[in-house]
Symmetry: C2
Subunit: 341 residues, 2 copies
DNA sequence: GGTTAGCACTCACATGACTTGAGTGCTAAC
DNA sequence: GTTAGCACTCAAGTCATGTGAGTGCTAACC
């Protein structure tokens, strides 16, 4: 392990680099941070830190910048605790007190808020409901030939689809069927439904065609729920950061962010880790190897729900962002609990 | 009016500038376009065209670029007709044949497709349903204390909200109420509902508190429908255009695009004009005065529904984009007609 | 009188020499 | 082990210069 003085110097370098975005030289450190040693000594230590892989050199005569390994050490043990300011907490509380009616609005607005406070791109992965259960369904008459099937999952999402009425069947048939399905399937997950309850329902309903269609609707509704939703916030904030003053880099990232499935995969990689930080080259996806992602997973009653994340340059205010994500996490969990039934 | 030769020269300049994005010189025009006159003559004509306000000069020794006024003349009468290629039509048809179940998906995917084909940002304003009517509502039991109210508008959107059950009332009360409301309000618009049918319903329902709550739900649902939705596509395409190789410009536009309400206002300004082109400084909003917006409004049974739009640099392929928007418009109208009931 | 060749002039942009300054690495002295 | 001193490196800025695309004007041409 590196000795304490090296740690102090590394800490100073990273702190400085995070706020200035400029390579840090020995003189700067000696002047700004009172380490009681001369620039020359710091130079020696810097050379050592570079040997050990914590710092990098763009060219011989420029200051040092932290490597992924350097940031990692920083995040794990050198980082100053940066609790949230009262002003930020007040802003968040105020926002969360303004009751939002629809669950999807909650996620969208949460994403906006996070990006606003961190000046980085935020991602909110809304509940993954693969394990979540069917709650109930209902049919609504549309015209002579069609009904609307409304399916609810127990996490609060409602899906609706148009359904053709089979020849000769009446709306009352559908209502009866809804009763049977609700009686048999309530509380069951998609996997469960496929295996368990089918026979009983089939026989209660009687009409094979009707049954087929209804089950298709239920499956599809639960299936589309399974595809969790991703909400993005503050993509234009990207360009605030000096490292993204290059159009090509921005384009690359924006293209990536537009690819829903890719971003979901990236978030999935850290799902369940609590508060997780993935720094620069630690990321598997090549497009974001000069970025860091901090994700916070939220649970409810022990069940994994989704995650909040911030994507920004490796030169990121880790401490502050982590505090924020934690706080947002608590608040969001509270709100979801309120929606859960 | 300017004579025919001037028109031909202006046409050549704009065509060239649209494809090259470089200021156009007299020599280039003489070489590439067979106008039967020498560069010197073209220079004289260009000077005239600049006097008349159709062209602009960055500095004395650089070629000309079209002014907003120049583009306007071009779009109105000089522009070559650019019918869509078979390949493009095939792509669109193929896409529209793949039946999309949910109406909101249709809009989102339409936006993506437009941006893909035009390499510009696209905007789709989904049906504005202020005139659209209440179709029916239904209550679904949730637990002992709550029900879910599902409200449908006749344009195919379904909204659902959680509703606390008043003390002492039963689910049967709600079902009865739904019957009354459906019987009285079906086909009515929000404005209509507020004035006309209230008394009859009030008396049929009897319970004042129940009535209050239900009407609140209906109003809010119709109200949130009224806020039409805006779908964006291809924001990262912006950076493909050489005029947006500057990060600050991109940031400004992205910020604008993130502001939902602003973009809606901009689209509203051209609603109902059929195919409308707004060029550069013709735009009222300062952030987009070096951009052009082409919007196409779509109707159904004479009723205004929404619009498709493309936002890009003034140097835009007007002819191609307009053909595309027209074609997309037809297709989208078809799809919506299918959804309408 | 409209058209064109010719020519001087302008201006952005590229190139290369030079300077500056921040920063390192090494060595020798403390 | 620490530090001062010094030579060295390299990016970035500055300046002079050259180049080329392009214009505007004038005088000759048809």
């Amino acid at each position: 392990m590196i000795d304490e003085r090296k740690q102090r110097i590394l800490q100073a370098i990273i702190n400085d680099y995070i706020s200035s975005a400029e390579p840090v030289g020995s003189r700067t450190i000696a002047r700004k941070y009172d380490l009681g040693v001369s620039p020359a000594t710091i130079r020696n230590e810097m050379a050592d830190l570079e040997m050990l892989g914590y710092l990098e050199h763009l060219h011989t005569s420029s200051g040092r910048i932290p490597s992924s390994k350097g940031y990692r050490l920083y995040v794990d043990s050198l980082m100053p605790v940066q609790p949230m300011t009262d002003r930020e907490k007040a802003l968040i509380d105020k926002w969360y007190k303004a009751k939002v009616r629809r669950l999807d609005q909650v996620f969208q607005e949460t994403a906006k808020l996070i990006s606003k406070l961190t000046r980085n791109v935020s991602l909110v992965l809304a509940p993954q409901i693969s394990q979540a259960a069917f709650r109930c369904m209902q049919f609504l008459p549309l015209d002579e030939h069609r009904v609307i099937a409304v399916v609810m999952t127990d996490a609060g999402f409602v899906e609706n689809r148009i359904m053709e009425m089979a020849e000769g069947s009446t709306f009352e048939d559908f209502q009866r069927m809804a009763g049977v399905i609700n009686g048999n399937l309530a509380g069951h997950t998609l996997g469960n439904i496929r295996t368990k309850s089918l026979k009983e329902i089939k026989s209660s309903i009687g009409d094979e065609g009707l049954y087929q269609k209804a089950m298709e609707i239920v499956s599809k509704a639960l299936d589309s729920e399974k595809k969790e939703r991703l909400y993005l916030g503050g993509t234009s904030q990207l360009m605030e950061q000096p490292e993204f003053h290059d159009v090509d880099k921005v384009k690359e990232l924006l293209l990536m962010l537009e690819e829903d499935q890719l971003m979901k995969d990236i978030l999935h990689a850290h799902l369940g880790d609590g508060l997780s930080v993935s720094i620069g080259q630690e990321n598997k996806y090549s497009g974001i190897q000069d970025c860091s992602i901090i994700t916070a997973t939220y649970h409810l009653d022990g069940e994994l729900l989704g995650s909040l994340a911030v994507l920004g340059p490796t030169r990121m205010e880790y401490g502050k962002t982590m505090s924020l994500l934690n706080y947002m996490n608590e608040n969001l969990t509270e709100v979801i609990k309120h929606f859960k039934w």
